[in-house]
């Protein structure tokens, strides 16, 4: 039973991947107009010469907020882990 379900899920996944490959835009045609818009308007709208910085902090700022949260979580985890190890050694 599990094998049958697995094969069906695999076939669905393969179908999605093949459909994605077939539906992809032809080479040389950008899939969206967003990149052109940002290149032409970023300096006027956000005042940044570094367009990458304007995307990272302004147009896609929410993404950077998540990135900062990841860093915060990583730091908290490392400090917590090393401290817990130390406490355990003292107790034993």
């Amino acid at each position: 039973m599990r094998q049958v379900v697995g094969v069906i899920l695999l076939l669905v996944l393969v179908a999605f991947l093949v459909a994605g490959m077939l539906l992809i835009h032809p080479f040389g045609y950008p899939p969206s107009d967003m990149d052109d818009y940002i290149i032409q308007n970023a300096q006027r709208e956000t005042g940044n010469n570094n367009v990458v910085a304007s995307v990272v902090f302004d147009y896609r700022g929410l993404d950077t907020l998540g990135e900062a949260t990841i860093l915060f979580t990583a730091v908290t985890g490392v400090l917590l882990l090393l401290r817990a190890q130390r406490r355990k050694e003292e107790r034993s």
Partner: protein, 153 residues
């Protein structure tokens, strides 16, 4: 602790590493780089100090409550700047056109003006502070852990 040659060279080099890192953070809206990258450059200088000297010497100056305050300040400033333009949208660049960082450069190649970019330079500073404090704490805690010590309060 490494030899006297390494310690002397690291002592002279750390100034330039810190200046370069702060330059990358401060000019994030003009040149390639930004808060994350410049913070990593500064922390690489701290790693050089940990290697040349010992983490035992550095834990007296890099205390946990200083790093905590730095990291929390960076995160808070970042979040507050994001919320400050909430009357339009989240992450609205409300400083464009204002006297602080509000100048608008001409479209296309131009020599660059430091007082441009809206709130992006301020966010670069906040993220840089956060990355410096966070990565310093991680590196120092790992270096101290290999010696069986712990980061100080």
């Amino acid at each position: 602790m490494l030899s006297k040659i390494v310690r002397t060279v690291a002592n002279q080099l750390i100034l330039f590493v810190l200046i370069f890192g702060l330059y990358v953070i401060a000019h994030g809206h003009l040149t390639p780089g930004g808060g994350f990258q410049g913070g990593a450059v500064v922390v690489s200088g701290v790693v050089m100090l940990i290697v040349a000297f010992s983490s035992h010497d550095l834990k007296k100056s890099l205390r946990e409550h200083i790093l905590t305050v730095m990291e929390s300040t960076g995160a808070l400033v970042f979040a507050l700047l994001a919320v400050a333009g909430i009357s339009t949208t989240f992450f609205y660049n409300f400083l464009v056109g204002s006297p602080v960082f509000g100048r608008i450069p001409p479209t296309g190649p131009n020599p660059g003006d430091f007082w441009t970019g809206g709130f992006v330079p301020l966010m670069n500073f906040a993220v840089g502070l956060k990355v410096i404090a966070g990565l310093c704490a991680v590196v120092l805690a790992l270096a101290l852990f290999t010696r069986g010590e712990e980061i100080e309060e």
